[in-house]
Assembly symmetry: C2
């Protein structure tokens, strides 16, 4: 049976309050304020648990490590700051991507990642 632990609560809370996708290391850093002894293994284990439960989704990034965010945010895309490397959510792009496909190809999903400077790093 699955148990409720301070570590798991802290990881869920970190994902909820960040309002942006976090890497495993970011989650570790954020949760250490709540559970000082937490280790990286627990972060990875819990992320796997939450992803398998459908509570969290992995965000794959071109040339980067996966980030994680709460599932059920609706379809949207991501922005990664080229200076601080943080990832942010941006709204869906709306264009009809299926029109781009060569004949005979079928589309299941798409990933769009914008790169640039976030507000904090733009100055």
């Amino acid at each position: 049976m699955q148990r409720s632990t301070r570590q798991r609560d802290a990881i869920r809370a970190a994902l909820q309050s960040a309002r942006r996708p976090l890497s495993a290391r970011e989650i570790l850093a954020d949760t250490q304020a709540e559970v000082a002894s937490i280790g990286i293994a627990t972060v990875y284990r819990t992320l796997k648990l939450l992803v398998d439960a459908g509570e969290v989704e992995a965000v794959p990034l071109p040339g980067g490590i996966p980030h994680y965010e709460l599932a059920k945010l609706g379809h949207h895309h991501h922005f990664q700051c080229t200076r601080c490397e943080r990832v942010f959510d941006v709204p869906e792009c709306g264009s009809n991507l299926k029109e781009l496909l060569p004949r005979g190809f079928t589309m299941e999903r798409h990933e769009l990642v914008l790169y640039g400077r976030c507000a904090a790093c733009a100055g």
Copy 2:
């Protein structure tokens, strides 16, 4: 001074005839027809050379390894087949992505990758 070798010619030829981005391993496999003894180190070394020379561009993929294609193909996007993993080019999407940015963010570039079945795998 830089020398012309069978290996380098084979790698250039593979990238030219593929007409789609290739991974290092795909390039190795394709060039072994021409130079049976070619090794993976030579593929990586030559790719680095060609990228530095501006002749080839690396295509970063979400959750995947970089693929390589000839530079100066103009702006476009990519499609990766979820079955055979091959990557294909698709035209630029055209929508105004800057509209998606939060206030204060600036955009430098973007990566769009479509996923699905290619014509050969769709059946």
